[in-house]
Symmetry: C2
């Protein structure tokens, strides 16, 4: 028995130094990764963005599930100790498929965000996201379980606008106005990892009093809980490593990725096929 | 020898009743297909739109080539007598790969359009397209061979705006103004099969005097030449059939496809995997 326990311990310790896999349909998940790198300076991360097939949010759920599984398979082959689904669309539509496929623990962006936002249950909560996220009603169901009603709106052009860097534009403001027209809330959940880059425009259109909630902080909290409860934290003095994989690399992707990281990319983008 | 000739003739005659494969990254190619159906009422068509991975125009050329070959393979399996690349991005970036892969004649949208537009060589010619189309310089090179200089502009957000049906919007006009700012031409080639749906906005922004040229007519002319020179025209009295395949089908795709066909879709969209 003693030797068995020792074995288990060794194996766990070896796992602790593995990176955490973070994935998204494109580079929106970098808003989450940035927070994770800040909060977990000793952890290594592998990021995978499916930039060859972004956006997912306007596609059918069967297609999104198929693509998600391919991303999971790729990251599992890289040997990761946990997966963070840094994409609201995949978290909404494909989470059970991702969890079934994965051999390591999975964190999504929706449940932690809902738990945080529901603390303000007496206030009116709104949620914006891609078409697939909103149509899935994943946020609505999660809030409903906590007895909270929400108002949801789809904003399908926000992702292409952000990926093109069309952010401080009157055009983006007009489109935001169409999407948010008549939405009266106290809190607005940014239900897409791209949207924090549009927070200025969104805040201007929805009004200063509305508090915006993004997924990065609650997701980092959820990861902290997982690492400590599963005893998976990096416990060595090894310097953390970062790998950024994309399925398509264009100058524009690199440019916008830099924008996400205030111009300081922790790793070069590398193209892979999933 | 006589029997061999007869064999060849029979085989050709059998081929004549095969459909023509028309393909695009999404549903933009339907603007071309619509013209082809009108011009060739006895021909059968199979359309394939890669809506699960649209847009292609913002992606890297290696990715576009890989996707293009997959579409060609799918259509060849369906048994077609010719292929029409109803997509400027693929015509710009992957045409030689498509031609190498194909066992049937291939028509693209660029060479016929350039041939038509170059007739106005003494006038100033502009061209707008996706980022991949413009970066490939395919139009520039084709015009250069005819001794014509052009001015080219990329309009990466036009495809997402059109796919979302955001057409008669002030936002689209503002984005068009940014893209076309300072462009002084007599003729403007719409170097993307989606763009004819934005012709009103483009005309307004660029000015009434500029003549817009789209690919549908010259591509139909090129197909007519091919069918007659290769003796491939449908020569039977069989009623033509239409099949519309997409790699992802959402309500929105169906909705926008209807928009392309003035609300009368000749066939239902069917989802396939390539």
């Amino acid at each position: 028995v003693a030797s068995d326990q020792a074995k288990v311990y060794n194996s766990a310790s070896w796992m602790n130094d593995l990176p955490i896999g973070v994935f998204d349909s494109g580079i929106g998940g970098l808003t989450v990764l940035k927070e994770l790198i800040k909060r977990f300076p000793r952890e290594s991360f592998i990021y995978l963005g499916d930039t060859a097939r972004v956006p997912y949010g306007t596609r059918d759920k069967e297609t999104i599930k198929r693509f998600s599984i391919e991303l999971v398979d790729f990251l599992l082959k890289q040997k990761v100790k946990a997966l963070v689904v840094a994409c609201n669309t995949m978290s909404s539509v494909a989470l059970s498929e991702i969890k079934n496929r994965s051999t390591v623990p999975v964190i999504d962006v929706i449940s932690p965000t809902v738990k945080l936002a529901a603390k303000n249950a007496r206030d009116k909560i709104g949620i914006i996201g891609t078409r697939a996220t909103i149509n899935s009603r994943a946020y609505e169901k999660a809030f409903q379980e906590l007895g909270v009603k929400i108002e949801a709106r789809e904003c399908p052009l926000f992702v292409p606008l952000i990926e093109e860097g069309v952010i401080d534009s009157k055009a983006t403001e007009i489109i935001a106005k169409t999407y948010l027209d008549g939405l009266k809330v106290d809190y607005l959940v940014l239900g897409c990892t791209h949207y924090p880059l549009l927070s200025k425009v969104i805040q201007k259109v929805i009004g200063k009093k509305v508090r915006l909630i993004d997924s990065a902080h609650p997701t980092a909290d959820a990861l902290r809980n997982l690492l400590s409860s599963s005893d998976l934290s990096a416990d060595s003095n090894i310097k953390p490593s970062y790998k950024f994989y994309v399925t398509d690399d264009t100058k524009k992707t690199e440019e916008v990725a830099r924008l996400f990281f205030d111009n300081k990319l922790p790793a070069k983008l590398q193209k892979v096929t999933v």
